[in-house]
Symmetry: C2
Subunit: 224 residues, 2 copies
Amino acid sequence: MGITERKEREKEIRRESIIDAAQKVFFEKGLFAATMDEIAEAAELSKGTLYLYYRSKEDLYLTVMMRGLEILRVQMERTVRRNEPAVQRMLDLTEMYTRFFDDHRNYFRMFHFFNTPQFHKQVSDDVMRTCDRNNRSLWELMIGVIRSGMDEGTVRTDLDPMEVALIMWSSATTLLMRIDNQYDLFRAKLNIDLHNTLRMSNLMLLESALTDAGREELHAAVHH
Amino acid sequence: MGITERKEREKEIRRESIIDAAQKVFFEKGLFAATMDEIAEAAELSKGTLYLYYRSKEDLYLTVMMRGLEILRVQMERTVRRNEPAVQRMLDLTEMYTRFFDDHRNYFRMFHFFNTPQFHKQVSDDVMRTCDRNNRSLWELMIGVIRSGMDEGTVRTDLDPMEVALIMWSSATTLLMRIDNQYDLFRAKLNIDLHNTLRMSNLMLLESALTDAGREELHAAVHH
DNA sequence: GCAATGAATGACTGTAAGTCAGCAACGGAC
DNA sequence: GTCCGTTGCTGACTTACAGTCATTCATTGC
């Protein structure tokens, strides 16, 4: 029965090509300005067909977003796996996130959708779960590094690793979002370089999460 | 000519009553689920009339939001004006924000709109400017406290006051938003109390922005 | 060939933001 | 009191878009 298998493959290819088209349109216009008719046009399919493969516009959007999440996960994994002290790897993670922001701005922008649960209504449970799972694995990676820092004696053990990850990641995300939207405005009107603000914020939070030994390592690493 | 004056007054009253109606509907349903027909119904006016007073749904939304911004400004002003050391007032500000979140959750939710510039397209320049101005005055208040901390020798002078304000305010806002959306989820699945995470984050950032003298004051104030 | 299966279509429905031609009520002139 | 101009209000209409479904078309197995 090679035929059903071929059909399966073709279906999968179609699913992907729809996502390619959706990505193109979402990158250009964002979730709200993009229309299903445009995506259908870009995919060279009729609108009805899109709905045979995806349940809603939001499902399509999240599926595109997950490509970005996957890229981020891979880069994070690479950073975390390095054979370095935890403090160095935490620093590397902050740098990695900024680099991801620079290299994959369009995907980064899509992440914002996730922080706005009002829009989650149209999302099918299935897609939502996949998203959550991917998201979770990012947290696990960060928590792992923080834990190893605690073992090394460079990270305070009176803190919850998840809390530390949450605080640092949230802070960085918010500032990156601001860089995306308002970098020029802050530079012109307030003479603030938000990239510097971000580095500052990362260092401040990192410092307060470290032990004295950790802080020494940090300063050595930053000055090197 | 008392008549034109009376008419002005009546117009102003109508403007306000439209905002009352809009507030009711937006609080219940949020920006997207709320419809102009519902707001018209609640205001006991026709939809067309709403557009005589406000240019778009988003204008209405932001005008409601500014009521919240004004409440926040007043409370912040009260906190800032107190005759206390800067460190204490910075602590008070973080507490004040959490209290605002508890007491005026609906307004707080509306602030999220501001962080999502994709929606700003329908907003008239006029309303946007008013919003910006109000927003700006919040920053001024925070910056004032940080500056006075620098004068007192409790806040590091190598930092930019605006940057410190930005970092602390953004961090608190993000975590409060998460508390709003995912408090129960974090509690159940990860055994994290996000209120505690928020306190932690506030303390960590505050600590790293203070001088040694400032940190002593902080610890005295926290243990009081 | 020919029926059966299923993939793809696009006209259609429903909904909601925003518009505008017309109506009504009020005030001032005489 | 009557008329007319001005102002405020209306709701049916236009437009736009997400999502649906009866129909068409192509492929496969007999």
